[in-house]
Amino acid sequence: MNAVARIALRRGGGMLVVMFFVASVVFAIIHIIPGDPAGVMLGPSATAADVAALRARLGLNAPLPMQYVRFLGDAVRLDLGQSLFLNQSVGAALLSRAPVTLQLTLMAAGLATVLGVPIGVLSALRRGGWLDQAVTVLAMAAASLPSFWIGLTLIEYLSVKFRLFPVAGYGPPGAGLLVHLHSLVLPAIAVGLPNMALILRLTRTAMLDVLNEDYVRTARAKGLPPATVVIKHAFRNARTAVLTVVGVTVIGLIGGAIVTETVFGLPGVGNLIVASVLNRDYPVIEGALLVISGIYVLINLATDLLYLVLDPRLRD
């Protein structure tokens, strides 16, 4: 069995353990915290008797261990249950929201990577120069600013003042893909900018480590063109470190989407989770967090497998 298959199998088993742990912890937490979907549905005028009656009608009165076992059993069969509020299955709710979050994540990751990696490389090559110092300061500023503040500032200027982008939402009813993507530009910038700063800084550090190595000095001494030295020799050896931070960034973007989707009123998975927590839509909370934890583990696994592809030494 080759290294890739070995790692995939080992990590696959670990993934199941992680997801079981996450499912159990989430189940426990949401049933411990106060609040009740029946109470949310009925509103503040409801009495305890009203809430109890609706809980019974919604089937929320089964003993917790029974609910837990039922939840786990259904999850194994890939049945995440039925939302208490949306009149659709949790799976359908997630699938209907996933494209928005996926588009946002890809746009933000693309922005962060396409800008962060080349600027990080340039910054390392011009170490100590004015470009490097300017980039360092801007990167620290971008990494320090909270994404919701960036979002609100972008709205103020680019949406309200200059009317270049919509303030919020995913487009009017019947809008096409281009309109949807247009509405994601500002959110992608808001959530991508701090991550771009992180990728930039780590790329710079990784490149600086490599640029001092003997083989890079040898490549220069052989008279190779500077671009060849940087791309074929230096960056090729720094890319595993860059890959690590890109993988971590994508994971972080999924979490960051929660705040950004709320600020921009986007109908993504993050917004779904926030609404479900506020409404105590238990099946959606459990199902969404289970799926997200699975995605996190898969991204980590993909990153590890890519290491093997990029660095044959690791296959031993």
Partner: protein, 519 residues
Amino acid sequence: MITRRSLLASTAGATALGARLASVRAAPDPASGPLNIAVIFDPPGLDPTVNAVDLVSTITENVFDTLYAYDANWQPAPLLAAGPAAIADGGRTVTIPLRQGVPFSDGTMMSSADVVASLRRWLKLSSRGQLVAPILDAIEAPAADKVVFRLKSPYPALMGLLAFNSGTAIVMPKAKAEAAMDGPIARIEDIVGTGPYRIAERRPAQFILLDRSEHFVPSPMPPSGYAGARTPASSQLSFIPVPNVNTRLQGLISGQYDAGMGLSTDNYGQIEHTPSLVPVITKPGGWLFLVMNTKQGLTANPLIRQAVQAALDNEAIMLAAMGSPQFYELGASLYPGWSPYHSDAGAALFNRKDPAEAKKLLAQANYKGEPFRILTSQQYDYIYKAALVAMQNLQAAGFKVDLVLMDWASVMSRRFDPAIWEGFVTFHAFVPEPMLITILSPAYPGWWDTPDKRQALQVFSTATSQEVRSQAWSKLQNLLMEEAPTIQLGEYFELLAHQKTVSGVPAVPLTPFWAAHKG
């Protein structure tokens, strides 16, 4: 039982509602595009009978009609009913005539059987309907053009409950009412009413789109408040959830939204100075209450509650909560001057801001420094600020106060446990019928249930003339002030705004949008 004649004979003048609605005329314009209305959150459902949440009522009052609705004078007026109810048998028999030829949005015609099935559902599932259920013998449809309530005892508040658009007595087709007898209406296709609009599409977290109902037949009565002809002025209404209040405001300023609800009162100045926008302050307002636990613990002692009442500075609380005197009013009376329930009973006990008096009462109560736990949430900014100032007032009077912070769903749940709190701050929407005030129910957290209260409530709930009702309410309000189970902190008003190019948005709570249009 109150009849329309006796109400009309009252000396209540034209109300703020009437003045605000006087200029609102539906101007049907087939060319008017969708009206985009930004709202605070995605509603937890679209069933106003079960979901007694203001936003659900605001959206669905465009879809469902009721037998009666509140007119410009805040009196129940016919909507699906053909006229006032006929009262007989000492108030035990209430016969409601029905309009004929009223279609549902699916094209089927409303019948008395539909009304009976809908009311049975309301009696079972609505917190308002459940007030009536214990005294109901039967509800029947003896003919196609009437329904009859047979009551065990007179219930003067019945018309008010039927007219109120929260926990609403909606009318829907019999088959759909019977299919949803056990819980909220689940499918969009089953949300079928006789109103000017129908729900065309709901995309969670994106929009709730209402189309003008092609079958709609308006009431023959002229528009008055929520009653009378509800002629749809826009071809479509789109309610768009925008949870972030700043985003909602920016969307209005940029022109993306035609109207925006639930705006922060802190933004009033900015809205006023934005040439394209019109701010709207809705009145009458709701009440901010500090509800106290009379069932057990520290506040089961009336002296402690009276000490709280003496200590509070209502002006400071409401100013902190609402940000500007434009957005609140102070007064002992729960009801404004134009209401038959306006009363100054107990006024001497209101807003005393007297920590010395509070300390005396605490000494009499032998207070030993037990914590006064106030449940509150930052999810509603004005509630949190009110709780903060109340805490300071109480501390100045010698109370040891713990502010227990949690999200709103937790507050709603935790308030049912009398062991863990002494007070919680909450909002209560304006209700024109006092029997709808939740704190009067002994089952409502706070659990106010003394012999004097029971007797006063019994007198009020069975009084059949308006004069006797008003006097009985005055006594009940006085008792509320003396026993202080709940402190009314003040009346608060809400802020919404719309584009200058939009008209037909009345400045009333649960703002109806059927008459709103662009141009």
